[in-house]
């Protein structure tokens, strides 16, 4: 954990502590943080593609766009996705807009993934946290311009993208800006059949301005604007006509040269998300329905870093207020008739305030102890509580919960070996949908879901361990974690309910299982075969069981990836094979069926050259070269994945 702390201190103090950057770079690589938004296979990737290269992230995919990240095989209710520590909540009841869909790879600097209770710095979580870190150029002594431009074309879905970003830095003033536009048509699967409704268009722009108010303080304002239009969701009965996000913040940072406190960074933020679903593109639909959603969040996050001798600490205060609204309006066949209306999120307010702390002590040069925790208060208010009363008569309109989280860890380094053990305990409050959702149609199991305001906190008990070995040529790192989750929230069939959405087969209510267990394991190996030839292999396995010993849904079967990377001069070539074994531990109760094994072979080559001061990289590659027809365990409605895709990209940076 110290590694993380060190990093974030470093990230914030770049312009003061220039010399420490080098020391910490290695640390970054070791930790789960990805410090460059590109994968081994591709230099120009979407945020989703980039996240999927992480061991403990998998995805629920409803199409080609806006994949829902699963951390430790747990969905976004259990993890916490933030942008620079800011809470942003999607406005779609069907989770068609995870937060990761509102950023773009060219306005991010890194993605910080923390597993389990270690991720409780920004609020209560069970699975962990994913923090999307925006680009934040440091002040420089001399005036400096830098920038990058990426363009590319992917043949399978005719995706054409242009991403540009530029930064200006000086002694007093810094500006970062980015613009991007992606446009893709329907993709084709491994049988060369077009997957209808898989097109999308996404525009994203961001701007950050920082001003140094004194030698040790600065202010910064940031804004991201994201707009997606005409996004198809082949696995759903409807598409997205428009989603928009405005994510803004203003922060003040104060550094201290002496004393225990090294930096205090306080940020206020506001974000507004609109999400309008559209089913007019689906003439087969029996009933026309409008499903707009809105999510507005105000918040404050204030962080202080403390350091003294072999002790360091990070303290964070988080507070936010979110209002989530989602409507359903159904139109009868005779349009002159009165429409039918209900709220799927009946104006649900969530307020959270919490104080968290992560401490670490270097006991010796070889070992380190971490201890962290947070205590939060979570408040919910449902304005139109009568909707919740339909299934839960007399449920309280407001509810306050206390959410404690604790974690402890020990790390030991002996020569070429490293070990760690950790444990955690934490509560989380039900999400808006779980607590107050109303007839939210889930096209995976084809049930309408009803929230339950009386759900108890979900309580996670967690243990984790890792062991690794590293020498000059070989490195092996194995990680395991185990979660025992009390009051595990999941949908169960309600016999009393009658479906509302015409595609659905029944009604499920969110209820709590007594407990469930989740086990995750990963092994990572790298081996330098030759000076310029590197091999990397990854193996992951997970198992999730409910209290009756049945399988939990969306648990990734045994998956593997093996890749070779060869570099010579300005030329690089890489190839990878990855796949999942058959999903034998599927859960029919939650709408899953057995998913067959698949394997995908990818290949790419790139060439780097300098043209005056401009560094240029061109890349050509192919994904799914064998054009395998497949869908993964987490593909909504078993929609097939993309078949063979040839991609080209060009990146210019100065």
């Amino acid at each position: 954990m110290l590694l993380f702390l060190g990093m974030s201190v470093n990230a914030q103090n770049k312009y003061i502590q220039h010399d420490s950057i080098k020391n910490l770079k290695e640390v970054k690589v070791k930790s789960a943080t990805k410090n460059k938004i590109e994968t081994e296979m591709k230099i120009a990737v979407s945020v989703d593609e980039f996240l999927s290269s992480s061991d403990n992230i998998s995805f629920i995919k409803r199409g080609a766009y806006a994949w829902e990240p699963l951390l430790n095989n747990m969905s976004t209710e259990r993890s916490m996705v933030t942008i620079d520590g800011m809470h942003v909540f999607g406005a779609c009841t069907d989770k068609m807009d995870p937060i990761t869909s509102y950023v773009e790879s060219n306005n991010l600097a890194a993605i910080d993934i923390k597993s389990g209770q270690e991720g409780s710095l920004h609020g209560a979580t069970v699975a962990g946290s994913i923090d999307l870190k925006r680009k934040n150029t440091a002040f420089s002594v001399e005036k400096k311009w830098s920038g990058a431009y990426q363009s590319g074309f992917e043949f399978n879905n005719k995706q054409f993208f242009n991403l540009g970003n530029v930064s200006f830095s000086s002694n007093k003033f810094v500006a970062d800006g980015s613009v991007s536009y992606r446009k893709a048509e329907n993709y084709s699967d491994g049988n060369n059949d077009v997957v209808k409704h898989s097109q999308y268009k996404k525009f994203n722009t961001s701007l950050g301005l920082a001003y140094k108010t004194s030698d040790l303080s600065s202010v910064r304002v940031d804004a991201i604007f994201d707009m997606a239009k005409d996004v198809g969701f082949p696995a759903l009965p409807m598409d997205l006509s428009l989603s928009r996000a405005l994510i803004t913040s203003a922060s003040y940072k104060q550094l201290f040269e002496e004393g225990l406190v090294s930096v205090v960074d306080t940020k206020i933020y506001f974000n507004a998300i609109e999400h309008y679903m559209d089913d007019t593109t689906r003439p087969e639909n029996l009933v026309h329905m409008d499903m707009p959603g809105w999510s507005t969040t105000y918040g404050l996050v204030s962080k202080a870093n403390l350091k003294k001798n072999n002790y360091s600490s990070e303290i964070a205060l988080n507070a936010y207020d979110n209002l989530s609204i989602a409507e359903m309006r159904m139109y009868p066949q005779d349009r002159s008739q009165r429409t039918m209306f209900a709220y799927s999120w009946p104006w649900v307010t969530t307020r959270y305030a919490g104080l968290s702390m992560n401490n670490s002590w270097d006991i010796s040069e070889k070992s380190q102890v971490n201890l962290g925790g947070s205590l939060g208060v979570n408040y919910n208010y449902s304005k139109y509580v009568e909707f919740n009363w339909i299934f839960h008569p007399g449920a309280p309109q407001e509810k306050t919960r206390f959410l404690p989280n604790l974690n402890a860890g020990y790390q030991l380094q002996i020569d070429q070996f490293n070990f760690s053990v950790g444990t955690g305990y934490g509560h989380r409050a039900p999400s808006v949908s779980e607590g107050y959702g109303y007839y939210i149609y889930n096209s995976f199991d084809r049930y309408d879901y009803i929230g339950n305001p009386n759900l108890k906190n979900e309580i996670s008990y967690e243990g984790n361990a890792s062991a690794g070995f590293k020498n000059e040529k070989l490195s092996i790192q194995a990680k395991v974690n185990y979660f025992y989750i009390e009051n595990y929230i999941i949908g169960r069939i309600l016999s009393m309910g009658s479906p509302m959405n015409y595609q659905s087969v029944g009604v499920k209510g969110y209820t709590a299982l007594d407990y469930s267990t989740l086990f995750n394991m990963s092994v990572n190996t790298t081996y330098d075969i030759l000076e310029h030839l590197h091999w990397k292999g990854t193996l992951t396995y997970a198992r999730g069981l409910d209290d009756k010993g049945g399988n939990l849904p969306f648990i990734r079967p045994l998956s593997y990836q093996t890749s070779l990377h060869f570099m010579h001069g300005n030329f690089g070539i890489q190839t990878a094979v990855n796949g999942d074994l058959a999903q034998i531990n599927y859960s029919p109760e939650y709408g899953e069926d057995e998913t067959k094994a698949y394997k995908i072979w990818n290949l790419s080559a790139n060439y780097t050259f300098n043209f005056k001061n401009v560094k240029s990289v061109v890349q050509v590659g192919a994904e799914n070269i064998l054009n395998e027809y497949y869908s993964t365990y987490a593909d909504w409605g078993n929609i097939p994945r993309m078949g063979r895709n040839i991609f080209t990209s060009l990146k210019l940076s100065f």
Binding site: F225, P332, Q337, M340, A342, G497, Y502
Partner: protein
Amino acid sequence: MKSFQFFVIAILFVITSCTIDKTDYEAELESEVPEFYEFKEATSFTSGSYKISIEALNGIFYKGYNELHLKVVNTQTNQVVTPSNVTFLPILSNTDGSKTSCPHEYNLGYDAVNKYNVGYSVFTTESSTATTWKLYVNFTADNQIYKVEKDITVEKQSNKNLNMTSFTGKDNEQYVIALIAPQKPKVAENALVAGIYKYNKPTIPAGVFPDPTQFSYSKVSGYTLKLDPRMPEPSMGNHSSPNNKDLVQQNDGLYQGIVNYTMTGNWTLNFILQNQNGLIVKGTLVSTDFTPGVEGVKSELFIDTLF
């Protein structure tokens, strides 16, 4: 720097451009379904030195259930008087000459606090050229009996939540079921109040018209009105709701249950009327299957609502 300014302008432009407006849920309910609280004079007549004023909600007699307030004022002293033996009889005349009535309170009770007589009338048809309504009111004031009659107009009830139905039961009796509350339902559990009335077949020959014994109705006692609300639209596939309660009789003689509306729109209240012995008077069980694309089959006893 120019590009930054461009971004800012672009962002501002997009923020201020229009989006889909949020539904103003409360205002929408308000505009779609009228709700009346105020009793206003619906008709009045004078007899001798007395003016009789009959008040109804919104000052209009509607088809369906109407609560009625009857006030008697001495026009000479301008004082509200307390009449006794107030009777009330609505008579429907058809062009074919037939005369019938509708469920009503014949002997009006007195509300001492508000100083008026209270009754009700469940008008079973709207006034038209073929059907006309006339009220026959008798009362005693200062030991003198007054008999008055007056033509009235019964208008269409545009609020479907106050709909009514009349039918002949399997026991060969004539029944009327009229919805009384809620006037303006919500997406919620609504206390559903209905009056269930039966025509008392005359046992003696008719006397002088209007002979109240020939036009007698009463609230049925100890019956149960089983409820199964559903959305009839084909697109709603026979959608229903949980936690509904059958209507049973309350102390005031009216029947009360709970209807749970899961969303706004067209609903059908499917009923089965059972008598005090549990025998079905009217109504059939409806399918509980979810049948998208098919219009829901209604019970033979139902009332449509809309909000």
